[in-house]
Amino acid sequence: MSILVIAEHDNATLKGATLNVLAAAAEIGGDVDVLVAGSGCQTVVDAAAAVAGVAKVLVADNAVYEHQLGEVMGDLVANIGTGYSHILAPATTTGKDLLPRAAALLGVNMLSDVIEVVAADTFSRPVYAGNAVATYQSNDAIKVLTIRATGFDAVAATGGSATIEAVDFVSAYGKSVFLSEELAKSDRPELTAAKVVVAGGRGMQNGDNFAMLFDMADKMGAAVGASRAAVDAGFVPNDLQVGQTGKIVAPELYIAVGISGAIQHLAGMKDSKVIVAINKDEEAPIFQVADYGLVADLFDAVPELDKLV
């Protein structure tokens, strides 16, 4: 078997999710190559070549791949993917955008958000907002999968010495053009990689009140997350949303503040190791998954907690 893993990166750093995908690849077994497609992405290539267990790093370094648009990436992955038994990408917005396109170009189906490798052709994934876990056997010639990072422990970032090979293929696709980007800048840990997440919901009442959570998060080295209601209301930006249709997190500690615990929210955080819920409604469903529940007004409890952590 030979596996192609699509690296997640921003032309400067190799993102951690790639290491979780490589762990899934190792469970499938076989030679593992990594594709780094970008522009001016040599540091990423070097980082990928150093990862334990990688045989070869394929490099498509060209201006057309600078923003890793789904259309050009789909073309590229379909072009080099034919020689592989498996093609894997992280279940990030980049992976979700490009991989189905590549799969359809290759004429195969795919499985999204895989959390378990049962066999080389059999995989499990959550469905129905995580209320069920389905196991599928794929009969496709090439198994195409996005991997949910929280399902696999990352492989070591060092200890490897892969060969590096340039890819000639340049997609000529021109109907999609990158215009601009507004990326959240923050010194806090990345939401999906943080050991501690402090999340706020509609109970926070407004964006200003989120400052309480950001302050506490900074003290704890934590990331801040939010429910859909808090994002919809404009308290915080969309990249903070945790849930079925937002980010999936599984930190050591998740503190849910003023969040009711709708199934769509639970889908994104119920694999956290320890869950704390602070809610003034003792009937709130979040208490059914919380290891430690505190029935209290968050405007009393959070300042007090902030002093003690």
């Binding site: 359809a104 209320n131 196991t135 999609s176 053009v177 919380a290």
Partner: protein
């Protein structure tokens, strides 16, 4: 400009699905069904484009059993002009759905295709991108804003790091995210009017597509249950537990 919207009949998002005791699938018997919420957002966006005078006709297509007509009628009550049901009882895999939609696109030649980014049953998030591959159209996935500008569409996409704006040549595919709009409710007069709007029914064979399946569902199990936790009396006890019992502080 003609807009094509794809909608799917799925379990209502308020219903907590249960796994069948024999672990063959989830139990959808006597469960409330509805239009996939992301598809509702797609219909709403099409209707708004029509209200702005940008869209001239909204065609809504669904693939599924006969009862999926309900979701097409709902779309028409919200403002779609006509409907197409591709009737099949078969299990639907994304690539087949994309092939069926491709056949509809070739017939209807829409300038814009709106669809949900994912359905809340399979949670796949694949079909729009696959349709993009099959038709060669550009794809604006996870959209929170859509602005038509001549023969192009500017799409603001919700990505992990924040927002990204792309310009796509029309015809193009846009998949909707939650914050694109807030769908309206259908009014009674519009529900009545929708009953008289045209709804064509066809089969996959009519479109020259064979229903293929490449994935075998082996089993479905409930997710791991969390141990029931405890309630703490106050913040001091919470911090004590987190330090000494859970050891996460």
């Amino acid at each position: 400009m003609k807009v094509l919207v794809a909608v799917k009949r799925v379990i209502d998002y308020n219903v907590k699905v249960r796994v069948k005791p024999d672990n063959t699938d989830v139990d959808l018997n006597n469960v409330k069904m509805a239009m996939n919420p992301f598809c509702e957002i797609a219909v709403e966006e099409a209707v708004r484009l029509k209200e702005k005078g940008i869209a001239s006709e909204i065609v809504v297509v669904s693939i599924g059993p006969k009862v999926a007509q309900e979701q097409i009628r709902t779309s028409m009550a919200l403002g779609a002009d006509r409907g197409i049901l591709i009737e099949t009882e078969d299990k639907l895999e994304s690539l087949t759905v994309a092939r069926l939609l491709q056949a509809v696109v070739e017939k209807e030649e829409p300038q814009l295709i709106l669809m949900g980014k994912q359905t809340i049953d399979s949670d796949n998030n694949q079909t729009g991108q696959m349709l993009g591959a099959l038709t060669g159209m550009a794809q604006g996935t996870f959209a929170s804003d859509v602005a038509i500008d001549g023969d192009k569409v500017k799409v603001t996409r919700e990505v992990d790091g924040g927002l990204r704006i792309v310009t796509l040549e029309l015809p193009a595919i846009v998949t909707t995210d939650l914050r694109l709009n807030e769908p309206r409710y259908a009014t009674l007069p519009n529900i009545m009017k929708a009953k008289r709007k045209p709804l064509a029914i066809m089969t996959p064979a009519d479109l020259g597509v064979t229903m293929e399946s490449t994935q075998t569902l082996l089993k479905v199990v409930p997710p791991a249950e969390r141990q029931a936790g405890i309630k703490v009396a106050d913040v001091a006890e919470l911090v004590e537990k987190l330090k000494n019992e859970a050891k996460v502080l």
